[in-house]
């Protein structure tokens, strides 16, 4: 190829260990007894369940509906009976559970009705909705909903569509096998993406340690007769499959810290994603299976076409795990994460199950102090200063870590790989990142609480004011009424010499009298209870008491008792 290629900064050359799993073709997996399909498998919102325990589902039936602005649907991987919709342990280091649909396959593997779409005649918005509901997400490991990336940007077209077939991480070969065996169909998916993005050129980057894949893709391109598409063999160097690194190698564009490749007219998709877009658009099949490499401590490493939700141990058993197996790692040795249990399900993010043992991955040597040798900075493909990030993360100085572009770290592990002091640097970065996210959530919550508190205070003030106003208005109304009454009645004793002063007095007195009158009337109205059917005895007693009251009340009512004088 005559194309001029560029170099990215840093990178390492670990042993690839890829040959073992590429000797045999992709194999199918017998149906397991039970599929556990987590509803939350992609970046973004949690899809809501659309089925209930006891429902019968078809293969490809939607069981989780996309929810929120960024979310992707989830489907039943085979036909069968929904046993439960309940939390189940997910393939995540934390060992936490997430809401999952548990399906008991009926063995028929029967598809429901499939909707196909002609992408050339369908408006882009509808295509994106279709892909969202087909559950298509990035299969390179980031599981970002693909529909959200299939937007051509402000100019209405894209300069370069980069297809990532680099697959730089050791042990993983699922993209390699996909390109070898399904290059033609994958290419159809790429053409659909090219159409949606209106991309001028398409570059398929493949590391040069996969000559068969390069040849297969080139043959498929030649067979399709399309122009402007090129499969490019790039030098093998980890992490050439990082999006920014691959873009750099193929186009020479250096995406600066904190920017996105789309700002430069480039968008990047994984080859597996291209294939599932083909399946969704041309076959109407939603994303219900993916290729998974089983490698490491097994007798026959191989790639399998696996239904989403298949328990990992069911899959690994086919490859013959050795007796001393004590761990599964999802992903490769550089970026993979350890699974909390053996029976966690395969999800859309599972590109590889690396079976491990103590002998194969011995515990790392104890961490020693950083000697500031700078090896990590030389190896960092994101052009960061890993040791500075390490110092700030270690001392929990998260603000500083962010200033040094912590969030541009792709957690590739190159720095830990080269560090002579065996510092688990990436663990520190992951810790820092999740602490920063937690703080941001707390900050948002605090700001919301402050607003609500201020609003409540404001509301209480306003209510108090309103109440006071209402009272004042009522008082004014009564006063007016009394004043009006006073004006119509003849005012006895009103003197021309002192007209101003007695008037308010009189008004006040009238007000009090009015209130007293009202109270008297109310009292009179409140008839005593239990006096309807009384015996003559009780009646007589009451009459007696009333008479006595009259006598007592009389002197009190008389004005100016003699003692006071």
């Amino acid at each position: 190829m005559l194309r001029k290629l560029f170099k990215f900064h840093g990178g390492v050359k670990p042993q690839t260990n890829k040959e073992q799993s590429t000797t045999a073709p992709i194999a199918a997996v017998p149906l397991p007894d039970r599929l556990v399909i987590p509803l939350h498998q992609a970046v973004g919102g949690h899809p809501r369940p659309l089925v209930q325990p006891g429902d019968r589902v078809f293969k490809g039936q939607r069981i989780g509906g996309a929810d929120g602005s960024l979310s992707s649907a989830v489907h039943a991987s085979t036909s069968g009976l929904v046993r439960a919709v309940a939390p189940a342990v997910m393939p995540h280091t934390s060992g936490l559970t997430t809401l999952s649909v548990i399906i008991e396959p009926d063995g028929e593997d029967r598809w429901g009705e499939l909707d196909k779409v002609n992408y050339r005649s369908t408006p882009p918005d509808e295509l994106r909705d279709f892909l969202r509901d087909a559950g298509v997400v990035g299969l390179g490991g980031a599981v970002f909903p693909s529909y959200a990336k299939l937007k051509p940007g402000k100019e209405g077209k894209l300069k370069t569509l980069v297809i990532n077939g680099a697959e730089c991480e050791p042990f993983i070969t699922c993209d390699d096998m996909l390109m070898r065996e399904r290059a033609g169909d994958m290419l159809k998916g790429i053409l659909a993406m090219r159409h949606m993005l209106q991309a001028e050129e398409v570059l398929i980057g493949i590391e040069d340690n996969k000559p068969q894949a390069v040849a297969a893709v080139q043959a498929a391109i030649a067979a399709s007769g399309q122009s402007g598409i090129e499969a490019v063999a790039i030098p093998t160097r980890y992490p050439a499959g990082g999006a920014k690194q691959l873009i750099r190698v193929l186009t020479g564009i250096e995406v600066p810290h904190g920017r996105r490749s789309t700002d430069f007219g480039v968008q990047c998709f994984n080859v597996g994603t291209a294939y599932s877009i083909y399946e969704a658009l041309e076959l109407g099949r939603p994303l219900i299976s993916r290729l998974v490499t089983v490698a490491g401590n097994v007798n026959a490493p191989r790639n399998y076409d696996v239904l989403i939700g298949t328990p990992m141990d069911h899959l690994v058993r086919l490859a013959g795990p050795r007796a001393d197996t004590d761990r599964y790692i999802m992903g490769g040795p550089m970026m993979g994460v350890r699974m909390p249990a053996f029976d966690v399900p395969v999800v859309k993010a599972t590109n590889c199950i690396l079976v491990g043992s103590e002998a194969m991955f011995p515990a790392p040597a104890p961490e020693m102090p950083c000697i500031r040798c700078g090896e990590c900075a030389k190896a960092c493909p994101a052009d960061l200063a890993p040791f500075e990030l390490y110092w700030f993360s270690r001392s929990k100085n998260f603000g500083k870590a962010q200033e040094y572009h912590l969030f541009d770290c792709i957690e590739c592990g190159c720095c830990s790989f080269v560090c002579p002091s065996h510092i688990p640097l990436v663990d520190y970065y992951r810790f820092s990142k999740s602490e920063i996210w937690a703080r941001e959530r707390e900050k948002e919550a605090a700001d919301a609480a402050r607003d609500r508190f201020e609003f409540k205070n404001h509301r209480q003030e306003r209510e108090k004011l309103e109440k006071a106003e209402k009272l004042a208005a009522k008082a004014a109304a009564t006063r007016e009424k009394v004043a009006a009454d006073g004006a119509t009645a003849p005012a006895p004793g009103s003197d021309a010499a002192t007209p101003a002063k007695p008037a308010p007095d009189a008004a006040k007195r009238a007000l009090i009298e009015a209130a007293m009158e009202k109270a008297r009337q109310q009292k009179a109205q409140a008839a005593p209870k239990n006096t309807d059917q009384l015996s003559p005895d009780v009646q007589a007693e009451i009459a007696d008491i009333e008479a006595r009251r009259e006598i007592v009340a009389k002197p009190a009512a008389s004005p100016l008792p003699p003692q006071d004088a």
Partner: protein, 191 residues
């Protein structure tokens, strides 16, 4: 000699005028220090610090009337941040004001609730919805966990539940405390 004096006086006058103008032109509304302190406080609005809310406490700190270690929800980290901001010495949380607890939300037992509205009046952030004689519910996402609604409830139907960790809120542990091996041992037994 005199020229020098004139020059110096002239400079002094010009700079003085400049400063005076700047102090008027760039006058900051409100008290920026109180805002900064308030931004650190957790906004639980629980009153454990002895003030009727976070902002009054912030004002008191800024005025030198309160210590920086009186806010239990803010915890040690909050005190550290305040110490950093104000250039004061770090102090452990003052015991008389309470202890740091895991973040919780209030839950109303909806079968016991008599709909008296007392909790609604107590809640500083309007996190409780309900009407007189109707069952009340707490909007968990708005609840700050201040516990102010517990005491007024005449039938004691409100309890505090610690917030469970989910995959979205899970945090990677500080590398020194590795928990993975323990989790895997149980996995091995199961397998």
């Amino acid at each position: 000699m005199f020229t020098a004096l004139f020059v110096m006086t002239g400079i002094a006058l010009v700079l003085g005028a400049g400063l005076g103008f700047a102090s008027i032109k760039f006058k900051v509304e409100g008290d920026p220090l109180v805002d900064k302190i308030d931004a650190i406080l957790p906004q639980t609005q629980c009153g454990q610090c002895g003030f009727p809310g976070c902002r009054p406490y912030a004002t008191a700190i800024a005025g030198g009337e309160a210590e920086i270690n009186q806010c239990p929800p803010g915890g040690e980290e909050g005190i550290r941040k305040l110490a950093d901001l104000l250039g004061r010495e770090f102090k452990p949380l003052s015991e008389e004001h309470g202890v740091e607890k895991p973040k919780s939300v209030a839950i109303i037992d909806e079968n016991t609730c008599i709909g008296c509205t007392l909790c609604i009046q107590a809640c500083p952030v309007d996190a409780i919805v309900g009407a007189a004689k109707q069952m009340h519910t707490i909007v968990a996402s708005e609840c700050t966990g201040c516990e102010l609604c517990l005491a007024p409830c005449p039938v004691d139907c409100i309890t505090m539940e610690p917030i469970a960790e989910t995959v979205d809120t899970w945090k990677w542990r500080y590398p020194v405390f590795q928990i993975a091996p323990a989790a895997l041992d149980t996995a091995r037994q199961e397998a």
